[in-house]
């Protein structure tokens, strides 16, 4: 009677046991970096950018002997953008695989979910994507660093650029979640401070497919400028449909996130679109020229925003490790604070008080580049860090 029960239980147990066995790390002294990102699922397009940069980085750096003679080893885990899965995977990375350096997280909830745990793990997290202002203000923890441009910085740069324009009437369309709402609020405040007029705004639910009603609303309001605080697939859909409704003939369209990811599907119809090109492939910095060259050789395409931002994150990490001569969290934290690196965006410094990287922000216009088959972002103005960065531990101006 008990034979089959035992068989069933041992069968189930044998499924469970390998869960707990992991391949041993290849090299003992390798620098292990955990990348918990969206490999499959709805975030996989962004996750693919993260992985491309990391793989290229590992290949390039290890060919030169690694960082301070230690090879770099990336360990990739799939979170599908879910915070609970992210916590699970990073917990496993830290506790079972001895990883103390974490990066690659895509969504802000994922970042917010793991940040309180970093101290207990004695691990560091470098955020390459999360733009939410709270990461370096209300949710700040000493073990987390944000190396990319933040949402508030982008909104600030755009309003500075618009301050010089004679346009008066502004309408904002933003995605209805934390980042979009924050951008909307930041932008509207900056516009009113400039004594210009906000003629309306609309928040669109995540996953909206048909934007025709929102476009109708925008047209009704008759703005001079439409500010778009959207990213990802929703932004692609909106920009496409806005193009089909010839919205740009009635108003100037400025988008907070001018990614190739969103603009490639527009083709030539996207020419004239303005926005922040957080990372720009054509920016004249020596480190950038080298990165673009390596990237094109490996992937036959120019790097997009997150590929560039991820590379910058890794550069920070590498320089920090060299400076600290260690990967110990305390030493590395100290080394990263106030470090200045020669990045793909030029000289970038890590601000010690809130761990936000101080960097230039590029205002760009989508234009044709003879060397590239599709329109790309051409920098029309560069805003220096001190002009756009919010106060210490703040996300407002």
């Amino acid at each position: 009677m008990s034979l089959n029960r035992r068989t069933l239980l041992s069968g189930a147990a044998s499924l469970a046991l390998p869960a707990f066995i992991r391949p041993a790390s290849a090299q003992g002294d390798a620098i292990k970096i955990g990348v918990a990102t969206g490999i499959t699922g709805n975030w996989s397009a962004l996750g693919a950018q993260i992985q491309r940069s990391c793989r290229l980085y590992a290949k390039t750096v290890n060919a030169k002997g690694g960082i301070d003679g230690r090879p770099v080893e990336f360990i990739y885990e799939d979170t599908q953008g879910d915070p609970a899965a992210c916590v699970r995977k990073t917990t496993e990375l830290v506790e079972s695989r001895g990883v103390k350096l974490i990066t690659g997280l895509i969504s802000s909830p994922e970042s917010l979910a793991i940040m309180p745990r970093l101290a207990g793990w004695n691990a560091l997290y470098l955020a390459p994507i999360s733009g939410a202002g709270s990461l370096t203000s209300t949710a700040f923890v000493p073990n987390a660093f944000r190396t990319c441009t933040s949402g508030p910085m982008r909104a600030r740069a755009i309003s500075l650029w618009l301050a010089k324009s004679p346009k008066q009437r502004f309408f904002t369309i933003a995605q209805d979640y934390a980042w979009g709402k924050n951008s909307l609020a930041t932008f509207e405040k900056l516009i009113t401070d400039l004594k210009k007029e906000t003629v309306g705004n609309v928040l669109t639910p995540l996953g909206t497919k048909d934007y025709s009603s929102f476009i109708a609303r925008i047209r009704e309001a008759r703005p001079d400028v439409l500010y778009v605080a959207m990213s990802g697939d929703d932004a692609t859909a909106f920009l496409k449909q806005a193009g089909q409704y010839r919205l740009s003939e009635r108003m100037q369209i400025v988008t907070e996130v001018l990614d190739l990811f969103n603009t490639k599907p527009l083709g030539d119809a996207g020419i004239g679109l303005h926005g922040i090109s957080q990372y720009n492939y054509a920016h004249a910095a020596p480190a950038n020229a080298e990165f673009v060259r390596l990237f094109r050789a490996e992937y036959q395409d120019i790097p997009d925003t997150w590929e560039g931002e991820m590379w910058q994150t890794l550069e920070f990490l590498a320089q920090g490790i060299r400076r600290a001569k260690s990967t110990d969290a305390n030493a590395l934290r100290g080394a990263l604070e106030s470090i200045e690196i020669d990045s793909v965006k030029g000289k970038v410094t890590m601000r010690a008080c809130d761990h936000q990287a101080e960097q230039p922000v590029f205002m760009a216009r989508l234009d044709k580049d003879p060397a590239i088959p599709y329109p790309t972002a051409k920098i029309i103005e560069t805003f220096q860090a001190d002009a756009v960065i919010p106060g210490c531990r703040k996300d407002t101006y």
Partner: protein, 289 residues
């Protein structure tokens, strides 16, 4: 824009959106009507068809090629799945169908990413579809006009086929009483398989038609399943007319709702469904289960 112009714009938007939604839903209705299964993999087929259509369109540089290939590929995949796997479950309970179509959806979505990669994919519209039409003094995209025309024509043809052809008669009789139809000597199995394939084909067609509006991206299937389930429920399960009316109703709610009450945009469709289900649990045109 005065009030009339606005109304016209919103109505046209409604029609275009309804056409898109109807393409998405009609496949699900067909399958449910005749087989009483909710195809969990509907969204994945939608995505698979879209990507296959995009590849075909790019290969021969023709949008129309994609329009043809998308339903054919999705139908073929559906047909194969039904023949080799689904068929074994007809004697079982609903849970088995849920599980198997769920597994199918998981596998197929990942297959799309493996075959085509995670970058978004797009298709070029032909000249005649990429222009605008001036309606009420405002530009209205030609492609949406095409959606209305194509959608209505397809639905009309399908309804005609269901109501007038012998095959349609058989389909209707099988959905009403499969046993009796079988007893009359009809090959119920073959017709079921055909209907399933056609239903899947429509999912693929819906996916490809959506590409010029939203591009092809990983995850486009996810939201599509929920939308189509909701419309099928509102319209009444297994009712063709129900799908059409449900699509119009949902499209109207979203178009007008998003314009006047954008705050409620997330919930307006669900509020509609709750109202319908509490008043008429079988949906507007469905029969009570």
């Amino acid at each position: 824009m005065n009030a009339w112009q606005l109304l016209l714009t919103l109505l046209l938007n409604t029609l275009a959106l309804a056409s898109l939604l109807a393409m998405l839903t009609v496949g699900l209705t067909l399958i449910f009507g005749i087989m009483r299964i909710m195809n969990f993999a509907h969204g994945a087929l939608y995505m698979f068809g879209a990507y296959a259509g995009i590849s075909a369109a790019r290969l021969v540089d023709s949008f129309w090629a994609g329009l043809l290939v998308a339903p054919l590929v999705a139908g073929a995949v559906g047909s194969a799945f039904e023949y080799f796997l689904l068929r074994r479950l007809y004697k079982r309970d609903g849970g088995s169908f849920l599980l198997i179509t769920f597994g199918w959806a998981l596998a197929m979505s990942e297959l799309v990413r493996l075959i085509w990669g995670s970058n978004t994919r797009d298709v070029q519209l032909p000249e005649i579809l990429s222009g605008i039409v001036m309606l009420a003094g405002e530009p209205f995209p030609m492609y949406r006009v095409f959606l209305v025309v194509f959608g209505s024509a397809t639905l009309f043809a399908l309804t005609y086929a269901i109501l007038r052809s012998r095959l349609g008669l058989l389909i209707r009789s099988i959905s009403q009483n499969a046993e009796m139809t079988h007893a009359l000597g009809v090959d119920v199995g073959a017709i079921r398989s055909l209907t399933f394939a056609v239903g899947c084909g429509f999912a693929g067609l819906g996916g490809f038609l959506a590409v010029p509006l939203i591009t092809g991206y990983i995850g486009m299937g996810g939201a599509a399943i929920i939308d189509s389930f909701v419309i099928v429920m509102i319209g009444g399960m297994g009712s063709f007319l129900g799908s059409a009316v449900g699509s119009l109703l949902v499209a109207a709610t979203q178009s007008f709702g998003n314009f006047y009450f954008p705050d409620l945009a997330l919930v307006v469709t669900y509020l509609l469904m709750i109202c319908v289900l509490l008043l008429r649990p079988g949906g507007l045109f469905g029969e009570e289960e």
